[in-house]
Amino acid sequence: MESGFLHQLVQQLINGISLGSIYALIALGYTMIYGILKLINFAHGDIYMLGAYIGFVCTSILKLSFLPALIISMIGAALAGMIIERVAYRPMRNAPRIAILITAIGVSFFLENVMILFASPQPRTFPAVFTATVYHVGAWVVNSQQIVILVSALVLMVALTYIVNQTRAGKAMRAVSFDADAARLMGIDIDSTISMTFALGSALAAAGGVLVGIYYNSIDPLMGMVPGIKAFVAAVLGGIGIIPGAMLGGIILGVVEALVSGFISSTFRDAAAFAILIIILLFKPQGLMGKNIREKV
């Protein structure tokens, strides 16, 4: 009994970490965009859906293998992200924040319904790009998809950390998110930096979409709604605007969801995510890795 419990716990941890790394990928985009624009980009979940569909077209119609499909879908989503920012968000730079939020909701509805129109609301079966090999590590089961997800997510996160911390563009992004006006005075091109942030964030979300397609074998036009909100929860959990925080938040969220669906009931899985969110907000609203900033009068 005791060993059975422990066995299941570790198994759920394995499942949770692979699910969590997908949340983390989406959460990174959320946190970067929030950090730079203070905008909850509700359309981000739909970029993730878009990425999954581009990946689907690449693998099933163009018969590409995993890596080219992933790269094409990331580029496609990055372009979509930049276009959305240019058309819908940039004209509203000085508008009240709630108005931009409504625009974001509008963009999200738009992407979902255009996809429903062109790709039908029915779920599509994502082709198996890998032969699903099941490995037995001791008594536990790990499949090849989980390993691919984890490795891809890790590589992308390392790449992102490098871009943000080591390159000029990354430095500009950090500067704009710290103080946009001061950054402008220092000669940083705010518009192109924000555009770059959307491109990076959207590319990561698209990668998440392709990985989810591989993991669950099924994609549909509304697949982005709930994971989108949950990824935002993950971003808040880790401390919004903080890149390592989004990674941590994503993994924690994935693990907790896996544990709840493994030990309590899968119907309470979504409620668990929001319950953590509320507990975090009540006791440490700045997030796990956030710093406490007091408002001055």
Binding site: Y34, K38, I40, F42, A88, P91, M92, A95, P96, I98, A99, I100, L101, I102, T103, I105, G106, V107, S108, F109, F110, E112, N113, V114, I116, L117, M225, I229, F232, V233, V236, I240, S265, T267, F268, D270, A271, A273, F274, A275, L277, I278, L281, L282, P285, E295, V297
Partner: protein, 315 residues
């Protein structure tokens, strides 16, 4: 008679006229069953939008979980009539009170948060309410609570809406309402002036939630069913859109926003695949050109009416 009473009387007469016209059109069958349904829906949406406006517009708090309270009202009302056999008016009262109590319990801890944090917390709580309902077998679980008698009709909905609107208008002009407006303008300054900010924030939140409950009872008793899928965060976004589109803090704005969006959505019902695309484009374009909402935080006042020489309900 003072100015306010005069205004109230005029507004009441105007709404009675609008009501009589609409009833006449329905009796003459110029307004068919489809538009009658949408008129009821418009009234329900006006209640929802104006109650959310109390929280988001007057008090400046950022709640996007209104569908949760709508769900509580819908289910509470349905349980009262279907399971316990109480009468419809009692169900309305029970649904209102239940949503209000929940709003109070949720508002007390969460309203310490501000801005986006409050937004995401209310969104989460709205979803938690829905998921909890989804898991209660007594109210039908995932398949929803069926067999609710249709007790809501246009007459009840219209006059309840008028009552709620008058309540909210009077609240806004009362001392409590002005305290809420002060919190919206600057919470720290309001606190310094001796306003108990927590009390007023919770008050606005509770009242807003309870009216959403009223709308919920009307909703479930019109559509025969209370289904968890009708109360997702998409529904909250719908209500929020109505409020922001009309103008945060403007009651007439909420009314216009609710009428406009429900109307667009109904008028496009014949083109189901294009409907949501046009709806979302309308949302984006309106926000791009009018980010403060149609009316800003101003009211459509009597002055505007007399200059337009037009008649419209509830000034």
């Amino acid at each position: 008679m003072n100015k306010v009473r005069m205004f109230d009387l005029k507004a009441l007469i105007a709404s009675a006229v609008v009501f009589a016209i609409l009833q006449g059109l329905m009796a003459a069958e110029i307004i068919g069953p489809f538009w009658e349904l949408n008129l009821v829906l418009i009234c329900i949406n006006i209640i929802l939008a104006s109650s959310l406006n109390m929280i988001n517009g007057f008090t400046g708090q950022f709640s996007i979980g209104h569908a949760g309270f709508l769900a509580v009202g819908a289910y509470m009302g349905a349980v009262m009539t279907v399971k316990l056999g109480f009468s419809f008016p009692l169900a309305i009262i029970a649904g209102t009170i239940a949503a209000g109590i929940l709003g109070f319990l949720i508002g007390l801890p969460t309203l310490r948060l501000d801005g986006d944090y409050l937004a995401i917390a209310t969104l989460g709580l709205g979803e938690i309410i829905r998921i909890c309902i989804l898991n209660i077998e007594y109210v039908g679980g995932a398949s929803g609570l069926m067999g609710i008698p249709r007790m809501t009709n246009f007459v009840i909905t219209f006059w309840l809406m008028i009552a709620v609107l008058f309540f909210i208008k009077n609240f806004k002009n009362s001392a409590h309402g002005r305290a809420c407006l002060a919190i919206r303008e600057n919470e720290i300054a309001a606190d310094t002036m001796g306003i108990d900010t927590t009390k007023y924030k919770v008050m606005a939140f509770t009242l807003g939630a309870s009216f959403a409950g009223t709308a919920g009872v009307l909703f479930s008793h019109y559509f025969f069913i209370a289904h968890p899928a009708s109360f997702t965060f998409m529904r909250s976004f719908d209500i929020l859109t109505m409020v922001v589109l009309g103008g945060l803090g403007s009651l007439t704005g909420s009314i216009t926003g609710a009428i406009l969006l429900t109307f667009i959505s109904a008028a496009l019902a014949d083109f189901p695949e294009w409907r949501m695309i046009i709806y979302s484009l309308a949302m984006i374009i309106l926000m791009l050109y009018r980010p403060q909402g149609l009316f800003g935080n101003k009211e459509l006042s009597e002055k505007v009416f007399s200059s337009l020489k037009g008649g419209k309900n509830n000034g």
